[in-house]
Amino acid sequence: MIAALANPERFMRFSRWAAPLFGVIAVALGAVGLWLDFIAPPDYQQHYTVHIMFIHVPAAWMSLFVYGCLAGASFIGLVFRHSLADAAARAAAPLGAGFTFLALVTGSLWGKPTWGTWWVWDARLTSVLVLFLFYLGYLALQAAIDDEQRAARACAILALVGAINLPIVHFSVTWWNTLHQGSSVFRKGGPTMPPVYLEPLLILSLAYMAAFGALWLVRIRGEVWRKRANALALRAAG
């Protein structure tokens, strides 16, 4: 699949219909998930604030998922020197930063009514904040190097350094402090969450993922077009 799409022509043909398809899937799943969310009964402890979860938790998952995509694309770009992988990494970074920011903001809005504070220096919050700062550093490095190919390779090295470092950051922060509740979906013995919440949560997660797929493909297409436009401009000038 990935090997077949490495050809830019084939990728452009594939993404031409795949990007809108993912977009439609995202909208449909999002509508269903939000509907199930709205008809879900208020939580016995958290009342209506539990609805924030359906926006917050998928965003937090996506912040890591996008980093995985970024690191994977960076690895392919670095090892096989493939320009489409560089474009994919370049296109994924702002999306990842956006999801991480969304997770932080919704988490803060959720923390105020449930914990009574906008922000606490707890392990999960802190490691997501570090992830966000790392995305910002990645974007800063990308913006600071003029030569595009050189910037892509430097960013790919940074992404792989981050892929090794971010688990260490997560471990160290957990060692340091923990207040955030543990995961209630991914745990031994199955989820502890009632199905009435679990179903919209999973549907909305898929919607987020489809939305990311659509936006990612559109952004990669944009990168490919931008490169073509630059090449045409160079040819016209020289």
Partner: protein, 221 residues
């Protein structure tokens, strides 16, 4: 090994030419330690509570300071090209650079760390563990920072860029080092923090040179 000793001697000799060696970082560290009571207030009780942590974060910031020149000077005058062409692998040159950075900047800063902590009001009994944590952590700061320095070669505004790239990655050593000192102050088990700090620093020393060499080759290409 001969190539390595030559590289080390070169780096150690050059480090004094790089903006006065450790003096700049030491002066920066002292300035942070001076400004802190002015911002927080000089009541001994309040200062003493944050002294070990403040000394430690000052150390992390001060060790960023001389990183900009780590590869930049060799990159500008072409010495990095020669190092890349030479018989010793670029990884070894990067390792020697960071080790020299640790010896010439990290170690003097580690000597200053307990002084700063005590001046801010930490108990003098914390001095040995503060020094040990600063010395071990300095190795990690130097190698982790070296990655940032190598990546930002040829970029605009390299110095600030290094800080933005590297500071999020400084979270583990800051946590382990600060944790070790705080645990010692509270009479708890402080060895775990120091050992984790050592593990982090050694892992960075082992893996960092590969990333640095890759980044240098990319900048030279």
């Amino acid at each position: 090994m001969n190539g390595f000793t030559t590289l080390m001697r070169r780096e150690l000799a050059l480090s004094w030419g790089r903006g006065g060696g450790p003096l700049l970082a030491l002066a920066f560290y002292l300035s942070i330690a001076t400004l802190l009571p002015l911002a927080i207030g000089s009541e001994p009780g309040r200062l003493a509570a944050i002294a070990p942590g403040a000394a430690w974060i000052g150390l992390a910031l001060a060790s960023l300071l001389s990183l900009e020149r780590l590869f930049e000077r060799d990159y500008e005058d072409g010495a990095l090209d020669l190092l890349a062409l030479g018989p010793a692998p670029l990884e070894l040159a990067a390792f020697a650079k960071c080790l020299a950075q640790w010896i010439t900047t990290g170690a003097p800063l580690a000597l200053l760390a307990p002084v700063a902590a005590i001046a801010l009001g930490a108990a003098p009994s914390l001095a040995p563990v503060t020094f040990a944590a600063a010395l071990i952590g300095g190795l990690g700061f130097s190698f982790c920072g070296g990655i940032g320095a190598a990546l930002s070669l040829g970029a605009r505004r390299g110095g600030v860029l290094i800080a933005v790239i590297v500071l999020p990655l400084f979270a583990p050593p800051v946590i382990f080092g600060g944790g070790a000192v705080a645990a010692y102050a509270a009479g708890l088990d402080w060895r775990t923090g120091l050992m984790l700090l050592g593990a982090y620093s050694l892992a960075m020393a082992a893996l960092g040179p590969f990333a640095m060499a890759a980044a240098c080759r990319n900048a030279l290409s």
